[in-house]
């Protein structure tokens, strides 16, 4: 059984065909990237998986259960951190727990231990505007993790950051995920990011989107920044760029 399975997803907005039968599988603890041209409907895919939008046809299964059109099971993280400016970092991160019915005190007690692992120790009582972009994205990731620790959808999570911060966060994410066996689905158009982070890569076609190719990343884990210049990495990067 797969952690997450997407079967024959079709979605049109009026005359605009967006998804033309998408099939995806995500195993327990696996990191899968989705790469495709911009505007090809990747975000629509996440909106459907998270239950915000109904597909025209097709299903979303999580742990074998049909969750098509139901919110509250998986959460996603955006390019924008979407932290509430009026809440402290601790309370922002607690938000999913509170939405699920915990009271603030319980939620804070449960969230606080994660702060050091997410590089946020000492910033619990700061407001988002006081933090750097990289730290805000880490807070957003922790919030996503606390919502559902088994599956996370990341929609270009580092897309708005500068190149150096982006690379730092990618490496940090690699190290952090070694500790938490979370299944991750990542949308990106950064080919290097996809190879460095994931076990498998789906390449989507232009709109209407379909899976064009599925590629297994042959790099061993744990990964390191040295691999960025290895022969395997470069060969795979060339192949991906040719496909896009």
């Amino acid at each position: 059984m797969f952690k997450l399975e997407v079967r024959d997803l079709v979605k049109n907005y009026g005359d605009l065909e967006t998804l033309a039968g998408i099939n995806l599988k995500l195993s327990e603890g696996e990191f899968v990237a989705i790469v495709g041209p911009s505007g090809c409907g990747k975000s629509t895919l996440f909106n459907i998986i998270s239950g915000l939008h109904q597909p025209d046809s097709g299903q979303v299964y999580i742990d074998g259960q049909d969750v098509t059109g139901h919110t509250g099971r998986v959460s996603y993280m955006h390019q924008k951190d979407l932290l509430l400016p009026w809440k402290t970092i601790l309370d922002n991160v607690c938000l999913p727990l509170v939405i699920k019915g915990a009271n603030w005190r319980e939620a804070r007690d449960r969230a606080a231990p994660y702060f050091s692992a997410f590089g946020l120790a000492g910033f619990e009582q700061h407001y988002p505007a006081q933090l750097s972009g990289g730290m805000r994205q880490r807070a957003a990731l922790l919030r996503t993790y606390l919502f559902a620790s088994d599956i996370m959808l990341l929609d270009e999570p580092f897309g708005a950051l500068d190149a150096i911060t982006r690379r730092q966060l990618q490496l940090w994410l690699l190290a952090t995920l070694e500790r938490y066996r979370t299944s991750v689905l990542l949308i990106t158009h950064d080919v290097e990011e996809a190879i460095l982070l994931s076990d498998r890569i789906y390449i989507l076609t232009d709109r209407p989107a379909k899976v064009k190719e599925e590629i297994i990343v042959p790099l061993a884990r744990p990964r390191s920044s040295d691999m960025l210049t290895s022969m395997d990495f470069i060969a795979l990067k060339r192949r991906l760029l040719d496909l896009l």
């Binding site: 998270s50 509250g72 009026w86 505007a129």
Partner: protein, 238 residues
């Protein structure tokens, strides 16, 4: 500086004090008539505050309702704008006919001037929330009420407070206008009285009181805003 110039010119040209009193004369009037000024001031403040609080509560409820029901918003919004084009001075005498000389007509005038800026600012504030943030909260399974409390309401607060500040300064003016048209007490009533007796220095003293009151109310709202929206200080810096 301006006050000094005023004082000098009045003395130099020996302007009649019923026409334009010197600042010193105004200060004397203010001090001498303070007990009676204070009595009328209390009544005006009372009217203004009742009207102000009432309009804020009403505006808050209406804006909340209009924001959650777009159809209602479309229906009521033009009506709200139209209501603002009717000059208050022309409606106020009607209140006098309908509701007499008591408290009610004054409070109504205050509501009439305060309500609009608060509703409009609050509505605008509620609409500025990032739709993707709403989507995120929805994807986590948050109810509409929770989304309103967690996201929309705090996001609207800064805009809401700008409307509130405008309304606060209007509220004293509204009460004074209400009293002009017919009252037995209050600063507006005291003004009409002083005007009829050509007590110009006292008239100026009343103006000073009204100005100070409006400023004080403005300041109170500003302090309240700082206390309730602590995060905005950080946003200005970044």
């Amino acid at each position: 500086m301006l006050v000094l110039l005023w004082e000098a010119l009045v003395r130099l040209f020996e302007v009649e004090s019923w026409l334009l009193p010197a600042p010193t004369e105004i200060a004397v009037a203010l001090a001498k008539d303070w007990p009676i000024l204070f009595y009328h001031m209390r009544i005006t403040v009372y009217e203004a505050l009742i009207g102000f609080v009432f309009s804020v509560v009403l505006a808050f409820l209406l804006a909340g309702l209009m924001d959650s029901l777009p159809l209602l918003r479309q229906a009521i919004y033009p009506l709200l704008v139209t209501s603002q084009t009717v000059p208050i001075i022309s409606v106020a005498p009607l209140f006098l006919i309908w509701f007499g000389y008591g408290l009610l007509p004054k409070v109504l005038v205050v509501v009439l001037v305060c309500f609009f800026p608060v509703v409009v600012s609050f509505l605008q504030g509620l609409a500025v929330v990032d739709p993707e943030l709403i989507d995120l909260l929805r994807s986590m399974g948050a109810s509409r009420l929770l989304i309103f409390r967690l996201a929309k309401l705090p996001a609207a607060l800064p805009t809401f407070f700008s409307g509130l500040k405008i309304a606060a300064t209007y509220s004293i003016m509204g009460a004074v206008i209400g009293e002009w048209l017919g009252a037995e007490a209050g600063l507006g009533y005291f003004m009409t009285l002083s005007q009829r007796s050509f007590l110009t220095a006292r008239l100026f003293a009343i103006i000073v009181v009204i100005t100070v009151l409006s400023l004080a109310l403005f300041k109170v709202i500003e302090l309240l805003e700082r206390a309730l929206t602590p995060w905005t200080r950080w946003q200005e810096e970044s």
